[in-house]
């Protein structure tokens, strides 16, 4: 099954990136901000990926920088999950006025350019990556809003939920038995997609030099500084660029794979008619 294989590859890539983020600083062969006279050196036994213009070990900087990217991406996804799912479910139950307001707000948020907003908010609230990630999370939350609202609507209007209600089941047990399994795959897809978006945002911001103060290494920052020395080390930007690309690709691949695997189950249409 295609979805299963590509899903495994995606998970493998993301696990490696996550491990880098957690263990990176421990694995780093050198201090990522320690400068040396050995500037712009090529790969060697001591510096696997060479050194940058201040003589810092590129491999160590990449490992250290992965933490910012992973934390940022997860912040975006978690904020979006909370900001989208809760009103998405409530919009079905809390009456017309709330529903109307929530729908309009979701439409508005989706129309805003989140990268621009992230830049603006960082400028306003000071140079911190977390504020930018929270804002991005809120701006992409309509994805979760729509997914959770649609799932809640179909389930809430289904007769088997009403049947359970008539049988005396409590709201909690109805959600556990009939709702959760059908909503979860859709939310997992949205989560994986949002993680991908988070990686792009965090990389873009750090590339622009926003959110993280200079000596601290980031993937985006590495890419930006490497681009400045293209004449001396034309291959250098390839490493951070590939890392960013592979991670975003893996997140999207995972989203597709979850959709492929769970899709038929979520929309399982029974074959038998009225025989």
């Amino acid at each position: 099954m295609l979805g299963l294989t590509s899903g495994r590859i995606a998970v493998a890539v993301l696990v490696v990136v996550a491990l880098l983020a957690v263990l990176g600083p421990l694995l780093a062969p050198a201090d990522p901000i320690a400068q040396s006279a050995n500037t712009l050196a090529g790969p060697s036994g001591q510096h696997w990926l060479g050194t940058d213009y201040l003589g810092r070990d590129v491999f160590s900087r990449l490992l250290e920088g992965s933490r910012v990217s992973v934390t940022g991406a997860l912040e975006v996804a978690l904020v979006a999950l909370a900001a989208g799912t809760v009103p998405g479910i409530l919009s079905v139950y809390l009456g017309r006025a709330f529903e109307w307001a929530a729908l309009r707000l979701a439409d508005t948020l989706i129309a805003l350019p989140f990268l621009l907003f992230a830049v603006a908010v960082t400028a306003l609230l000071g140079n911190g990556i977390t504020q930018a990630m929270v804002v991005t999370g809120v701006l992409v939350s309509p994805l979760f809003f729509r997914v959770s609202r649609a799932a809640t609507l179909t389930v809430a209007r289904s007769q088997y939920v009403e049947a359970a209600l008539i049988a005396g089941a409590s709201l909690g047990s109805i959600v556990r038995r009939h709702v959760w399994g059908k909503v979860l795959p859709a939310i997992a897809v949205a989560f994986a997609q949002t993680v991908g978006v988070g990686f792009i945002i965090v990389s873009s911001l750090t590339f622009l030099g926003i959110g993280v103060q200079p000596p601290a290494p980031t993937w985006g920052g590495l890419l930006a500084s490497d681009l400045g020395y293209l004449n001396f080390q034309p291959w250098a930007p390839v490493v951070p660029a590939l890392l960013i690309m592979a991670t975003v690709w893996a997140a999207n691949l995972l989203a597709d794979a979850i959709r492929d695997v769970s899709g038929p189950a979520g929309h399982r249409v029974p074959a038998g008619g009225t025989a």
Partner: protein, 273 residues
């Protein structure tokens, strides 16, 4: 003893100028071991009646007494406690939509028992026993609803309604989606149930299928009961013009050509009233 007593039941929908009366003062009693047919066409309020009795719709006036207990002012928590005792159950028209497509037949059947705190093994045992009461095999238990035929599915939902040994079961168009052979089978099962003492309210737009099994029939039109009587009275000697039109409109094998003119008169009479 009356299992259900409904008196002066009124339900209104909407607000202000668009306010509509779905039920306008309905009186109905159902006794133990009795099948009462409620006949009504689109917009007659028959489903609203069922949903109100089940506590899913709040009446604006009137009284509902279920198993000797006045439930009219019940709050959500009281309704849930009442439903857990399982004395009133409901069977939907479309069994496919009223069974969770991702739960096995065993899980769907066990649900009403699980919510009452009965252990799963015991619940599945009971489920198996009730499957045989609706003439189905226990080997259906691990299957999904999609793997059953329409007739089997409807019998599963009837079994689910019976599992809690209810005093009253409301059935909303239980045979409308079935073919002839399955319809006959379900109607036979309903007759068996009457023998066991449970009271049934059989709601349908189709006088034909209700007349076969109901002891009494109540005819609902535009939210009001226009006529109530034994099945024979309603079919053979209907008195209200709407009932007369309904009876003469129901397809029978012995249709007489004269019926067409009679129907024309009744339609004209109803239109002018």
């Amino acid at each position: 003893m009356n299992v259900l007593e409904v008196s002066g039941l009124e339900v209104r929908y909407g607000h202000g100028a668009r306010r509509k009366r779905a039920l306008a003062g309905v009186d109905l009693t159902v006794e133990r071991g009795e099948i009462v047919g409620v006949i009504g066409e689109t917009g007659s309020g028959k489903s609203t009646l069922a949903r109100t009795v089940l506590g899913l719709v709040r009446p604006s006036a009137g009284r509902i007494v279920l198993g000797g207990q006045d439930v009219t002012g019940y709050r959500a928590r009281q309704w849930r406690a009442l439903r857990r005792r399982g004395i009133v159950q409901y069977v939907f028209q479309d069994p496919l939509r009223s069974l969770d497509p991702e739960l096995s037949i065993a899980d769907s059947l066990a649900e009403p028992l699980l919510v009452r705190g009965i252990a799963r093994a015991e619940a599945v045992n009971r489920a198996e026993e009730y499957l045989s009461r609706v003439r189905l095999d226990a080997d259906l238990l691990p299957r999904l609803p999609g793997e059953l035929s329409g007739g089997q599915r409807q019998r599963v939902t009837i079994a689910r309604a019976l599992l809690t040994e209810p005093e009253l079961v409301l059935l909303d168009e239980p045979v409308s989606a079935l073919d002839a052979a399955n319809r006959v089978q379900v109607l036979r099962i309903l007759q068996d149930l009457r023998e066991s003492g449970v009271a049934l309210v059989f709601i349908s737009h189709d006088l034909g299928s209700v007349a076969g099994v109901a002891d009494r029939i109540a005819v609902l039109s535009e939210g009001a009961l226009v006529e109530t009587g034994t099945a024979r009275q309603i079919v053979a000697t209907p008195s209200h013009p709407y009932t007369r039109l309904l009876v003469s409109s129901a397809p029978t094998l012995r249709a007489a050509p004269a019926d067409r003119a009679r129907r024309e008169e009744l339609r004209a009479a109803l239109l002018n009233s």
